[in-house]
């Protein structure tokens, strides 16, 4: 065990992340055995549909959690963005591109509000994001007059945005969304590990006072984490409607928990300072696979919640154990 742990390659990737990959693989095999239809290509595509929007939410919230904060508004903010932009597209007949931009802007706006209140106003992130969760939920609803919004199908006019997640080339459905999500994750990883934003975000999460006393504008960098998170929630909205097309007002909270769960499973510490984009991505894949597997086996979604909860506990416990050993 120690030997594997200290292997150079294993160290580079991270032991816990390898374990997570193992869990992912094991789950896949298990579902394939338990449910004969699970191996079909359409099931994979369906699982990926869930992974796209959740992935963007989870990537975003990773930045906030890295600062030691939390954002509970991402799910409803995503829905609010999808509702507002969808309303403009279908009822107000705006062209598609501006609507997609609006979706991202709505998400960003909530990120700015959260960021300013937390970083400059000194409000606890828990309370701030809970408030904006309710506000975004309500506003989305008000904007569409409590009607649900159905984005156009792929064959309809303005339906090409659906190609963002799935493109038909010569009769084969190519999961373009996966490519985009992975590219986005790579960009996030670069931002987190190679730029000033990421460096300061991680350091603020570890020891905010020490960073402040180094003459760093901690408020600005902390705010940026929330803005990135909000922006990615806006992007997530596009991928949500790309997969499911219909958005109902007044929902979205459950996706907060799943996005945060994915992030935490991947080894990002809730107390801040440590974050792994790769881990977050694997965590999201586990949740998506779980949800699809449970459905494939004919159970209700509620079982997925139970299992997600258990996996989160196991992952966090393993993480704390390994950290304690290191100290």
């Amino acid at each position: 065990m120690e030997k594997i742990r200290n292997n150079a390659v294993v160290k580079k990737i991270g032991f816990n992340r390898l374990v997570l990959c193992g869990i992912l693989l094991l789950m896949y095999i298990l579902f394939a055995i338990l449910s004969p239809t699970f191996l079909s290509y359409s099931r994979i595509l369906s699982a990926l549909n869930y992974a796209y929007f959740l992935g963007f939410l989870s990537l975003g919230v990773t930045f906030v959690i890295a600062t030691g904060g939390i954002d509970f508004s991402i799910g409803p903010v995503m829905f609010c963005a999808a509702l507002v932009s969808g309303q403009l597209l279908t009822k107000n007949e705006w062209p598609l591109i501006p609507c997609l931009v609006v979706s991202i802007l709505v998400g960003t706006l909530f990120g700015v509000i959260n960021g300013v209140l937390v970083a400059y106003g000194g409000l606890p992130s828990f309370i701030t994001s809970m408030a904006s969760m309710m506000i975004s939920k309500g506003l989305g609803s008000v904007f569409t007059k409590t009607q649900s919004v159905s984005w156009p199908q792929a064959s309809e006019a303005n339906g090409w945005y659906r190609n963002l997640i799935r493109l038909k080339i010569g009769g084969i459905q190519v999961p373009t969304g996966l490519v985009i999500l992975i590219v986005a994750a790579i960009i996030c990883a670069i931002v987190l590990n190679k730029t000033r934003i990421g460096r300061y975000i991680l350091c603020i999460g570890s020891n905010r006072e020490a960073v402040r006393l180094s003459g760093v504008n901690v408020k600005k960098w902390e705010m940026l984490a929330y803005i990135i998170c909000g922006m990615l929630a806006g992007v997530a909205a596009i991928f949500f409607v790309g997969a499911y097309s219909t958005v109902q007002p007044g929902l979205g909270d459950t996706y907060n928990n799943e996005a945060i769960a994915g992030c935490v499973m991947g080894g990002t510490s809730m107390s801040g300072g440590l974050a792994s984009i790769g881990g977050t991505l694997i965590g999201v894949m586990i949740i998506a696979l779980l949800q699809e597997g449970i459905l494939a086996m004919g159970f209700q979604k509620d079982y997925q919640y139970v299992l997600t909860g258990v996996i989160v506990l196991v992952a966090v416990y393993a993480d704390i154990r390994s950290r304690r050993r290191r100290n």
Binding site: I190, K194, T195, R196, R199, Y200, L202, C203, S206, N207, E209, A210, V211, R212, L213, S214, G215, V216, N217, G273, L274, N327
Partner: protein
């Protein structure tokens, strides 16, 4: 000194990759105060942890009251009468003194905690020790010194026969140390065996009977305190000679320009109308008792805490410092007294900490230029002789002295001309201490200016060119090093008005 109560012989302990204790001997007699000395990392704490059952030993024997014993946890050691008073106080601030003393073994009557009885018992205990503390007082309202007394009382209430003090004086004022010594002498009278761990050479001479010195996990020797000099002990600890002679005259030229002028600074209760000047190439010592407002002055000046009024001039120009950012922009760097909380980011690397204050200089476009960052950090690791396997090492794995050097490197990378060093050698071993002194002298020789806050008189007298003394938030004295003596500083430090 009475008969031997405790003997540790040939104690050996290894951790993965580290031989922490290499056949160490220690003998404690009844009615003696036995100093255990050595640099940080010499193995003192490990030895005491082996004794009290926190670590298990690999080899060797412990004989206590004539019988060979092995304590498997601190509770067992406590029950047998071997207790340790930790450096960090383990007190619950919101409970009363008595509740703290009886924590874990509350006196009950009918299933309910009997506070009255506990207060009585605590009072009896304090009377026995001649400590003047009200058992019903809330712990957090006591001074650090009084809290320490409570910790000692708690240790003694376990019917202790051997008490280990792990750097008890680190956070105490001179007066409180005196009181502590009174209690220790009292305990010695009562024929307890006392182990006293401290870095302060003066205290060792005053309070202890014998000294055992350790170096790099090994046993160096045991001396009778009154037969040896400070230099003897230091030589045994480090294997090299260190001189702790006071400075006799200022090295600053008479016409050196003023780089920093502070006028009528006011901030909260702890900084009242403080004015001073700092010259180029000068080490300006800030002396005073704990709570005199020196740290608060530095923090207000640096913009870490808000100030109410006062003007700051850097190189003759008036500057507005509202945040640490402003201060850093003016070329001021602040080395905090509390390294772990305010100085370093412990779970980040040496390189990341070194460039923290000047990251914008290490950018290539939007990316951090890792190569340049590592290279510059490495330069400072070498210049400051920081002991680390590499710049990618997490700071948490370095010793206190080396962590301090990383913080200094942070400000040197930033090229700050005015450095505020707040207790720069607190919790640092003798060897690293002298290196930091050397470094400070080198910095002022290069034309930088240093404000040094220190609670150690020897440090103030050894390093400063000029000394400012504070008491209760006010500046109560200003002395050139030529005229400064311990007595004069103490006099100013207790000037209350």
């Amino acid at each position: 000194m009475g008969e031997v109560i405790l003997t540790m012989k040939g104690i050996d302990k290894s951790f993965p990759g580290v031989h922490a204790l290499d056949h160490v001997d220690l003998e404690i007699r009844k009615g003696e105060v036995h100093a255990l000395m050595g640099e940080n990392g010499a193995g003192k704490s490990t030895l005491m942890k082996v004794l009290t059952g926190i670590y298990s030993k690999d080899e060797g024997t412990i004989t206590y009251e004539g019988k060979e014993v092995t304590f498997s946890n601190p509770r067992e050691a406590q029950a047998a009468g071997v207790v340790i008073v930790h450096q960090e106080l383990n007190m619950m601030g919101h409970l009363t003194v008595a509740q703290n003393i009886f924590i874990g073994r509350e006196i009950m009557s009918g299933g309910i905690i009997d506070d009255k009885k506990m207060n009585e018992e605590a009072r009896k205990l304090f009377d026995k020790l001649n400590i003047d503390i009200d058992p019903t007082e809330t712990m957090s309202r006591l001074t650090v010194g009084k809290q320490q007394m409570c910790e000692i009382a708690k240790a003694i209430s376990h019917d202790a026969k051997v008490i280990i003090f792990d750097e008890p004086s680190a956070a105490l004022t001179e007066a409180e140390i005196e009181e502590l010594f009174k209690i220790i002498r009292d305990l010695r009278e009562k024929q307890l065996g006392i182990v006293y761990i401290s870095h302060r050479m003066d205290e060792i001479k005053v309070i202890t009977d014998r000294v055992t010195v350790m170096r790099d996990g090994g046993y160096v020797g045991t001396l009778i305190t009154k037969d040896c000099t400070k230099d003897d002990i230091i030589n045994m600890m480090v294997g090299r000679v260190i001189y702790e002679d006071p400075k006799t005259e200022s090295t600053v030229p008479k016409d050196a320009p003023v780089v920093l002028r502070v006028e009528h600074l006011n901030a909260g209760k702890m900084v009242k109308d403080v004015s001073f000047e700092l010259h180029k190439g000068e080490i300006l010592g800030f002396s005073g008792l704990m709570g005199a407002g020196r740290t608060e002055t530095a923090r207000a000046l640096f913009g870490a805490d808000p100030k109410e009024s006062g003007d700051v001039y850097v190189n003759g120009e008036k500057v507005e410092i509202k945040t640490p950012q402003d201060a850093v922009r003016c070329g001021i760097g602040y080395l905090s007294e509390d390294r772990k909380r305010f100085g370093i980011v412990v779970d980040k690397t040496v390189a990341e900490n070194s460039t923290m204050a000047s990251l914008e200089r290490f950018m290539k476009g939007i990316f951090i230029n890792k190569k340049k960052e590592d290279q510059v950090s490495q330069e400072y690791v070498e210049a400051l002789k920081t002991k680390t396997p590499g710049v990618d090492q997490l700071v948490v794995n370095l010793s206190g002295g080396n962590q301090q050097k990383v913080v200094i490197a942070k400000w040197l990378v930033r090229n700050c001309d005015i450095l505020i060093f707040d207790e720069p050698t607190r919790g640092i071993d003798v060897g690293a201490k002298s290196e930091i002194y050397h470094l400070m002298n080198q910095l002022v020789a290069e034309g930088k200016s240093i404000i040094m806050i220190s609670s150690e008189m020897t440090e103030i007298l050894r390093m400063s060119d000029r000394i400012i003394v504070m008491c209760e938030g006010r500046k109560t004295g200003e002395l050139g090093i030529e005229e400064a003596t311990q007595e004069r500083i103490m006099h100013a430090a207790t000037l209350r008005n």
